[in-house]
């Protein structure tokens, strides 16, 4: 390239970071801006399922094949973010046999080994499933950590020269002579607004894509679907288990980081910022999936959450819709072609599973706009952390950490494990539930894409605070890591924000052992630590200050300050 076009990507989800990485690898100058932290939208609020494509093999075989290929690609380039659990589609007595057979045949047609397994064979594979499972077949489903994946993708983009600015909301699209010439942002340092010039802007704002396009007077109708999920403390199954029946939603158990996620309920909503999970949705998920794996009825839900997934209104003309099929579809809207406004393309839809392919299509499109022919490299180059096997095996003793702690760190950090865990300083475990050490927390805080006073940044990078106590035991220790870089007021603010965020997800699963945990957390924080009440310049004279001190002899063995 004679000159290097500057591409500005809006949105720090899987798609936005994927586009930034792809374009940076192809040699563009890239800036990504994200209004909050990476993964804040639908990406960070998905169910952890890396789709095999089996769910739409019957309705859209081409999409299913593509999805399966992407699932394999991600397993190769993001090994430390993916667990190859495998999956089972199961049918219970009384479920629609014809639907099961149709789905199964579709999977076979796209090349999956979808041989019918008998109830006995299923029992051997997943003994905790209900005996009412009368047939099943295997699908190559897997699980993915969307946080780790997105953070690693952003890290890769930065390694290729991209600038990633989180906590930087776009306040306006700059339009000159019917062309988008950049964006106005409010940077995180609070210095007001700043203009960022760009040769081209990619709108990957997900559920907020319509709002962003609206800033240039462009109409992008984005439909919003709220997906609800419940996290359970232990997984009854090793594989992703999906009940294969015509009733949509609430059918899947996704084993995930030692726990499982029950998903998903779906409702259309108007507001992309909706965060609450309805109580009846929680009950529906738990009761519905306990019919598949009865143990779930006695296990401990620790959290409920929901994500808002955007989809492009299919009635919208002039959009190029690639990769059909319900889950995999996405729309690429070139606003020059549609609105005679140069310099902006909007991408809506796609999933974490297909994000790389979507990003490749967007990057191809941007290349074409500039008449540049560069091959996409993202399908073969591993992400940071997945370049090689983690090399911690022989180093455990050297780290001075328990083996479970090193293993947890290795799972999260992949080939970065040694670099992060190795230290000559004391390295205590700060989060006992998830085995997160101080060096891992500091590595997260040192990530330049993380805002230092947002402890949720630590959570998405380390899983600290995501265990059964939901931060009850560790949140204040995490906050102390901000000291002395940050003033105590900022530390306490960050702590309050983390507790608030952790609490909002627990409120709808408060029964049984999780309510007992909530009572213990309440007792610890509001009584033993007495957090959350202002005690400034107390009048201490009204209180008991114990027996008189002997001023001449403070040593109590000879003195008299103790009775």
């Amino acid at each position: 390239m004679g000159y290097t076009p500057h591409i500005l990507v809006v949105g720090g989800g899987a798609t936005g970071t994927g586009v930034a990485r792809d374009l940076a690898m192809r040699g563009f100058e890239v800036t990504l801006v994200e209004r909050g932290k990476l993964t804040d939208g639908a990406t960070g609020r998905m169910d952890g399922l890396l789709h095999s494509g089996a769910r739409y093999a019957n309705t859209d075989p081409a999409a299913a094949r593509e999805c399966l290929a992407e699932r394999r690609t991600l397993e190769a380039i993001a090994a430390h973010c993916v667990v190859d659990t495998g999956g089972l589609f199961v049918s219970l007595e009384g479920d629609d046999e014809e639907y099961f057979e149709r789905t199964r045949a579709g999977c076979e047609d796209v090349g999956m080994d979808a041989r019918v397994l008998s109830g006995e064979e299923v029992e051997d594979l997943e003994p905790s499933l209900t005996p009412e499972v009368d047939r099943a077949f295997r699908v190559p489903d897997a699980t993915v950590d969307p946080f780790r994946l997105t953070v690693a993708t952003a890290r890769s983009a930065r390694n290729y020269g991209a600038t990633v600015e989180t906590h930087t909301p776009v306040t306006d699209l700059l339009v000159e002579n019917d062309a988008v010439a950049g964006v106005e942002v409010a940077p995180r340092d609070g210095t007001g607004t700043r203009e960022l010039d760009a040769d081209y802007v990619v709108n990957a704002a997900g559920a907020w894509a319509g709002d962003l396009a609206g800033m240039a007077g462009l109409d992008v109708p984005v439909g919003l679907s709220k997906a609800g999920m419940v996290v359970v403390s232990e997984s009854p199954t090793d594989r992703v288990v999906s009940r294969c029946c015509s009733q949509q939603g609430g059918n899947t158990i996704v084993p995930y980081a030692g726990r499982c996620i029950l998903g998903t309920t779906g409702d259309d909503v108007d507001d992309p910022d909706v965060e609450t999970q309805a109580q009846h949705d929680v009950d529906r998920l738990v009761d519905g999936l306990a019919a598949v794996a009865p143990e779930l009825g006695n296990q401990r839900p620790i959290r409920a959450y929901c994500g808002v997934q955007p989809y492009h209104n299919p009635q919208q003309p002039d959009a190029r819709t690639d990769t059909g099929g319900a889950t995999g579809s996405f729309s690429l809207i070139d606003h020059e072609e549609r609105d005679d406004t140069w310099g902006l393309t909007t991408v809506v839809g796609g999933t974490v599973t297909t994000h790389r392919l979507v990003a490749e299509a967007v990057a191809d499109h941007v290349c074409a706009k500039f008449g540049i022919d560069r091959a996409c490299l993202t399908a073969t180059e591993p992400l940071p952390g997945s370049e090689r096997e983690a090399d911690t095996e022989d180093k455990m003793e050297q780290f001075g950490l328990a083996s479970a702690v090193v293993e947890a760190g290795r799972d999260r950090l992949g080939s970065r494990a040694s670099e992060v865990l190795e230290t000559s300083e004391p390295n205590p475990v700060l989060c006992d539930c998830e085995n997160v050490t101080r060096t891992e927390v500091r590595d997260a805080l040192d990530d330049e894409t993380a805002a230092r006073t947002d402890l949720d940044e630590v959570r998405i990078r380390t899983r600290a605070g995501m265990g059964t106590c939901q931060g009850g035991r560790c949140c204040h220790a995490l906050a102390s890591e901000l000291y002395p870089t940050e003033p105590i007021e900022a530390i306490d603010g960050a702590l309050d924000d983390l507790c608030e965020a952790r609490w909002s997800g627990q409120r709808h699963v408060l029964w049984g052992e999780q309510l007992a945990q909530a009572m213990r957390n309440y007792n610890r924080h509001a009584r033993a630590l007495n957090r959350g009440r202002e005690h400034l310049d107390l009048d201490l004279s009204a209180f008991d200050s114990g027996p008189e001190w002997d001023e001449d002899d403070l040593n109590p063995r000879g003195g008299g300050f103790r009775p």
């Binding site: 509001a526 007495n530 009440r533 063995r557 103790r562």
Partner: protein, 416 residues
């Protein structure tokens, strides 16, 4: 089969107080204490808070007794009466002797927390006495690298803002490889030779001395020995030349274990038959009277009077399942909002309705059924299994355990 005049179920503070109150009231009565688990008190905060905050949130209160009369009529303190609260505390004071302070005044003392805030308590272990925040003395807090829950530098900054005298915080390395609080306490008891060739206490003292800067007292994590607590603390005071105190931190509580051992010795002395590691799996009742308990080993415990002291939600004495809240052992009625959405406040540290879940009782502390009559004529309840109060928001958990344990134990033996 064992047979007792008074059977107390639950080995926490309320249950042990009930058993002691019963045995001391009438030495001829046989008293059994059935305790699930090892009853080692590691989850029991060692400070006894009677009332730190008024129902409207006013506080920390300097005189809890003056505020008891203003509590709602259904509050356990109102049910047993202020004099019984005092009598319960007197029993506690008598049992713990000089291992506790605070008995000489009605006023609350202010202790620093591991977070650097303060809380007001009526009784505190002597090992915390030198640290009372209400005494204006320049203070250094010392934390340990492997106890991140007590971060001394941030706690010191917060404490200094609350008390407006100088508070410093430093973090040092504990001299042995121990990582858990109980192990650290045992290491200071045993005082083994460390890799640096000094015994553990000397090694720790030498490290802390390097940071001393004219403070008038030094606060350490609550791990200063289990058996040898007084000797460990005395040795550090000798080494530093200033008083030393423990900063109370969350579970496992070493000071709680010490209190548990003190109470255990008192139960033994009072002739209480303690059945540890005994889970009760069933209850036989006849004509509104509890007759016997079935243990997990198939044995039974019969009794004339029973005290329910199994704890609240946090211990399983109260169980909340979708959609109902129950007292699982005797099946006593527990009132709770039918909509689960009303169980918790929206703010993480708001006043949570679930903290008030528990049995309602009559003036004799007998759990009431849904129709307001007692569930059983010979069953009383004490401690956190009681409803109608918020041990957390009020900072009243310790005092309610002691006062209602005392009242239930005495009532049981008087009715026998």
């Amino acid at each position: 089969m064992s047979d007792a005049d008074v059977v107390v179920v639950g080995g926490g503070l309320a249950g042990r107080t009930a058993a002691l109150a019963a045995a001391r009231r009438d030495a001829s009565a046989s008293v059994s204490l059935v305790a699930d688990g090892n009853g080692d008190f590691r989850r029991e905060s060692a400070c006894i808070d009677v009332l730190g905050y008024a129902p409207d949130g006013d506080g920390p209160l300097s005189n809890p007794f003056a505020a008891l009369a203003d509590l709602p009529a259904a509050h356990p303190y109102r049910i047993v009466g202020t004099e019984t609260v005092r009598a319960g505390l007197s029993l506690f004071d008598d049992v713990v002797g000089d291992s506790y302070g605070g008995a000489s005044t009605d006023r609350n003392a202010v202790v620093p927390t591991a977070f650097g805030s303060v809380r007001s308590v009526a009784r505190y272990p002597t090992g915390m006495q030198a640290g009372l925040a209400s005494e204006r003395r320049e203070t250094t807090l010392v934390g340990f690298e492997f106890l991140p829950e007590f971060d001394a530098p941030t706690a010191a900054e917060r404490l200094e803002r609350a008390v407006s005298y100088r508070v410093d915080g430093i973090t040092v390395q504990f001299p042995t490889d121990d990582r858990e609080r109980i192990e650290m306490a045992e290491a200071l008891d045993d005082n083994p030779i460390t890799p640096d060739a000094d015994p553990a206490r000397e090694a720790l003292a030498a490290t802390v001395r390097m940071y001393q800067s004219g403070e008038e007292r030094i606060g350490l994590p609550p791990v200063l020995g289990l058996r040898e607590h007084d000797a460990v603390r005395a040795q550090f005071e000798e080494a530093f030349g200033v008083p030393v105190f423990e900063v109370p931190a969350g579970a496992p509580h070493v000071p709680g274990i010490r209190l548990g051992r003190t109470l255990e010795a008192a139960l033994d002395e009072a002739g209480v038959d303690v059945l540890p590691d005994t889970r009760v799996e069933g209850v036989d009742a006849n004509d509104g009277h509890v007759e016997r308990l079935h243990r997990q080993d198939g044995e039974t415990v019969t009794g004339s009077q029973f005290v329910l002291a199994t704890g609240g939600l946090e211990r399983g004495g109260i169980v909340a399942d979708r959609p109902t809240v129950t007292e699982p052992l005797f099946g006593c009625h527990v009132a709770a909002p039918s909509d689960r959405g009303d169980w918790a406040d929206r703010a993480p540290l708001g006043e949570h309705p679930f903290a008030r879940f528990g049995v309602s009782v009559d003036e004799h502390l007998r759990p009431l059924g849904p129709n307001e009559g007692p569930e059983y004529a010979n069953l009383r309840a004490a401690g956190h299994v009681l409803g109608g109060f918020d041990p957390v928001a009020e900072h009243s958990g310790g005092g309610v355990a002691v006062a209602t344990g005392y009242a239930a134990g005495r009532g049981a033996v008087e009715d026998w």
